[in-house]
Symmetry: C2
Subunit: 291 residues, 2 copies
Amino acid sequence: MTATAPQFGRVAVVGIGLIGGSVACGLRSRGLATEVVGYDPHDAGVAQRLGLVDRMAASAEDALRGADLVVLAAPVAANCDWLRRIGEAPAGVLGPQAVITDVSSTKRSIADAAVRWLGARLPRFVASHPIAGSERQGPDAASSGLFEGNVALLCPASTSAADAVERVEMLWRALGARIGTMTAQRHDELFAAVSHWPHAVAFALSAALGSSALADEARRFSGAGLRDTTRIGASSPTLWADILLDNRDASLAAASAFRAELDAIEKALADGDRDRLAAALARGADWRRTL
Amino acid sequence: MTATAPQFGRVAVVGIGLIGGSVACGLRSRGLATEVVGYDPHDAGVAQRLGLVDRMAASAEDALRGADLVVLAAPVAANCDWLRRIGEAPAGVLGPQAVITDVSSTKRSIADAAVRWLGARLPRFVASHPIAGSERQGPDAASSGLFEGNVALLCPASTSAADAVERVEMLWRALGARIGTMTAQRHDELFAAVSHWPHAVAFALSAALGSSALADEARRFSGAGLRDTTRIGASSPTLWADILLDNRDASLAAASAFRAELDAIEKALADGDRDRLAAALARGADWRRTL
């Protein structure tokens, strides 16, 4: 919203869904880039019509050409494949100083892909994960304010160049986010526990109701508690299948920790042991009340 | 908000917490009762200070005396004991036509207590459950609009008098709620699935995070998804221990249904079977998107 010169030249945003679309229109609405070029093989003109980008590129090469910053906002497997394309792109397409980041919900596989494919460009890659989202998807749900007041986590590798890290921090700060930093390994353990397995839980709660004889009454008579507890269970099943598979070991570890706590509650309930039951519930409430 | 005569005479509200306090001040602010008398053995003057009631009664007998309508809003075991007190009260304390209802989260035990204790008053009892609440508790959280736009479920027994059912329907409609009706048995099965076990799940998710090495980072870096999924995990552990124990069999059945769905997700993930995993998640999303 300032009249100063744009902080970025051409920015390529690959994948114009909720997150990519929000990055693109956030950059555009704040005048942060000289040009915001989108690319999305599934796009049917929506991004352009909604004004999320200055233009949509016709091909992968067209998207990357002359970019100052590349933001990979496709699903994680596609983002990894884009790192391969970037590593294999002819020298003239993307300048050697171009900074590359991603927005994937998991960070170890993209970090591995960067090592595998980027070669001399490896110092220019800085993984990031903006902690913002919605059970809604697609460019229609994008908004320029999505990241405001939220945290953007960066997972720079030891190979990442300091000036590239600064550029990616600048991106998220310009979009209104606060910066956090941790390793890709720690990130994936943490997000298995705070996001990936909780999504599985919300899907399972919803499925248990949907497949029961109570499905219709549950729809009519449930309250705000169930709506909140299951909200993320309305997310995309294929997107979350891919995230869980990409972070399988940490998600299974989070599943075990959750099951241990739920089993303790269930056993205390089956035993009719009020003190043990209240103590098991209090372990949760004590932590949740600090959130 | 009308200038017509109050629809109720003296209303006794027993237990002035979130729900009882909201019933009391909802009646008061709308001029629906000639007098709203509260009673709460734990009250330390808060209800009076907040203007939730016209006055607080000094004793159980004082609370019931001359009431046209009695609303039991204490925890369910205490409400059951109040039915005993009412059944045993001297004839002059509470008129024979006084209508009695409750707001307990479980309905079978209060229905059983009514049969056990109320004798000739049994037709005057109509169980109800307003589907409104909060992870917050106590009279400070009470509000006169708590029930507006929500459902109040009634579980009349075959013994309930038609005019008593009408009076209780009138109460909740006057407070802004829509009326639903089902048997106490069906109610408890339904609420085990849509509320009681989901609370256990939210407590367990919170406990798994709180007891992990990631507890501090989880607090700093989790997003709206986790906050929503665990919100009801900040509820009162003793209150929910009592609700779960009171509805033990149905809650354990809901636990089994949930575990079957979560196990299917976990096994598909462990097997690395994307199709099966996405299908298991889709079972949840399909239902949740209709909510």
